[in-house]
């Protein structure tokens, strides 16, 4: 019998611990496939965050070094500057990259560090139990915005990717989702392109992935995917935010 589907070589043979319907497992698989298809397993170094994906090193069969919460971009900068011909990527949640690690991320992008950030936006702090994140939507109930997020009390949802697009050193910034088959395939293409940008030495690349967190959103997986496509995308529109790989183009 012909085998038509199997585990990517760059994923270990460990079952994911993630909740049913969680976007992390899908995204791990996509990244694994891209690493395989681009032949990067031997040169890839991943930097997992503090967050639900802290255990990513149990799944990826590549070198991985943990960063303190939010400091992924700085750790990746050190790795990449020391080893310029490796592929170095961070894997960070919205709390990690858009709250505690904002400064490191903006400066890495602005310096044009030749690294890739995979930014998993699930609009909550997953690992610590569903608290409000910088990316939480207006009206969204979390354990620390029990009456729903209001702009007055909690501030506005943060569009980090758009902010990063303003940085002169960022080259490719795109927002995708893992809410449907077609979005998953687009996410895979985006990851591949971001890695290619890095391999060509062009500068900072980032893929923001809208990702379901049924457990903390208190939704079954299909509802969670719907919520991404109905509500999240209004605040975080999908598509290319910046792409100057073909020469200078404005960040529209």
């Amino acid at each position: 019998m012909k085998k038509v589907f199997s585990r990517p070589k760059s994923l270990k043979n460990n079952p994911f611990h993630y909740c049913p319907g969680c976007g992390h497992s899908i995204l791990h698989r996509i990244i694994g496939e891209v690493i395989d298809e681009m032949g990067l397993q031997e040169i890839a170094i991943g930097v997992p965050p503090a967050g639900c994906a802290v255990l990513a090193y149990n799944y990826f069969d590549i070198d991985m070094g943990e960063a303190p919460h939010g400091r992924g971009a700085a750790v990746a900068t050190g790795l990449k500057r020391a080893l310029p011909n490796r592929l170095v990527f961070t894997y960070q949640g919205d709390g990690d990259i858009a709250a505690i690690g904002t400064a490191e991320t903006i400066h890495a992008a602005n310096r044009g560090e030749n690294i890739t950030a995979i930014f998993v936006n699930n609009a909550v702090y997953g690992m610590t139990g569903g608290q409000m994140a910088p990316t939480t939507l207006p009206g969204q109930k979390t354990t620390t915005s029990p009456g729903g997020r209001t702009e007055v009390a909690h501030g506005h949802p943060m569009n980090l990717s758009e902010m990063l697009a303003l940085a002169s050193g960022s080259v490719y910034i795109v927002r995708t989702a893992v809410s449907s088959t077609s979005n998953i395939l687009k996410t895979k293409k985006a990851v591949a392109k971001a890695f290619q940008v890095q391999l060509s030495g062009m500068g900072f690349s980032l893929v923001e992935v809208l990702s379901p967190c049924g457990t903390n959103w208190k939704m079954i997986p299909t509802e969670a995917c719907h919520w991404i496509e109905e509500s999240m995308v209004k605040c975080y529109p999908l598509g290319v935010i910046k792409d100057i790989t073909g020469g200078r183009k404005s960040a529209d």
């Binding site: 070198d63 400091r71 750790v75 990746a76 790795l79 020391a82 400064a103």
Partner: protein
């Protein structure tokens, strides 16, 4: 050469290829020196980071890659680095961290002070760990101990702190750079992240969710710390032979003390000095040995009394301990300290 420049030159000669830092007085000359010198070194990397937090985490990344890496700062910036120093200890990553300390707490001032002794020797960050802390007292020692710091960091896979102060950083003295020690056994770097090329993939992590695994890791670190205590403790004795009283001081305070002791001896006061060169591991054994002969100790620090705790713990009651401190960036003269010595000496009728 100026102290801060000497640290930089010694680091380069010890094979440091990576420096990340953030401006803060009184250590700026070190950052500036690294900016200039690393640009001349093949594959040298200098990054002026956006904060001390970013700087130490860049050093963490470079260290994961197997590169000799250093950062430097002064008190307020060292406070910001503490979380990552804890991570470096947990993940057993070598790194050299220089604190050219100043008056504190808060912004304090930029004058020489030894107010960061507790922060340096007690970890400063969270969790059950120790750092090697080296306390030079001359420009020559800045050179020697900086080179040693890189060797120790690699040998034990642990962060090493150099605790200086604004005086040491700014002062100019002649210096001779030793040839970096002929490499004995090359330090194994079989743990570095370089890409899983022709070998299984590697993980560097500090998260150990299973308490039995974390406990074993804690004991493993303790066994390493015991080896360091046993092998790497450094202390200088000064004129202890005939003494009935010993001053205990480190760094700049020890230097002032030497002058004070020479003055006191002109008046036939039989006093010597014990100078811890490693603040961790602290030379407790040496102090215990000396306490068999000398019973009177004067601890002199440029703070309100921090190392004195370690002296008391070392003595376990076998000796009388007094304290003289000048915090806030005040540098007393040898004359002032010799008067303190003399008054103690005569009060206790030691002569």
């Amino acid at each position: 050469m100026r102290g801060n420049h000497v640290i930089g030159e010694a680091a380069i000669r010890a094979g440091c290829h990576f420096y990340a830092g953030y401006p803060i007085t009184p250590q700026n000359e070190l950052t500036e020196y690294m900016a200039a010198r690393l640009s001349e070194v093949k594959d040298g990397v200098f990054i002026q980071a956006e904060s001390e937090l970013a700087a130490i985490n860049m050093v963490m990344g470079a260290s994961m890659a197997g590169t000799r890496a250093m950062t430097s700062s002064s008190g307020p910036g060292i406070s910001l680095k503490q979380e990552s120093i804890s991570f470096l200890s947990a993940m057993e990553l070598p790194a050299v961290i220089v604190n050219i300390s100043r008056g504190g707490p808060g912004l304090g001032n930029i004058a020489p002070s030894q107010s960061d002794y507790f922060q340096a020797t007690r970890g400063g960050g969270h969790g059950d760990y120790r750092n090697i802390v080296l306390a030079p007292n001359s420009v020559q020692e800045l050179a020697d101990l900086t080179m040693r710091a890189f060797d120790l960091a690699d040998k034990y896979r642990t962060p090493v702190l150099i605790l200086g102060d604004g005086m040491l950083g700014q002062m100019m003295e002649p210096v001779e750079f030793l040839d970096p020690k002929k490499p004995g056994k090359p330090v194994s770097k079989e743990w570095t992240l370089t890409g899983a090329n022709g070998r299984p993939s590697r993980i560097i992590r500090s998260l150990l969710l299973d308490p039995t695994v974390e406990e074993e890791h804690n004991w493993k670190l303790v066994r390493k710390y015991e080896r360091i205590i046993h092998k790497e403790t450094l202390v200088e004795d000064f004129l202890l032979g005939d003494s009935t009283m010993a001053v205990i001081a480190f760094g700049t305070a020890a230097r002032i003390t030497k002058g004070a002791i020479l003055r006191a001896r002109e008046q036939n006061i039989k006093v010597g000095m014990i100078r811890p060169i490693t603040l961790w591991p602290f030379p407790s054994k040496a102090i215990q040995e000396i306490s068999k002969i000398i019973k009177h100790f004067l601890v002199f620090e440029l703070n309100t009394g921090q190392m004195i705790d370690d002296v008391r713990l070392s003595l376990e009651g076998r000796g009388e301990v007094h304290f003289y401190g000048r915090p806030g960036g005040i540098i007393p003269t040898p004359l002032e300290v010799s008067r303190v010595i003399a008054s103690q000496y005569y009060q206790k009728r030691l002569g």
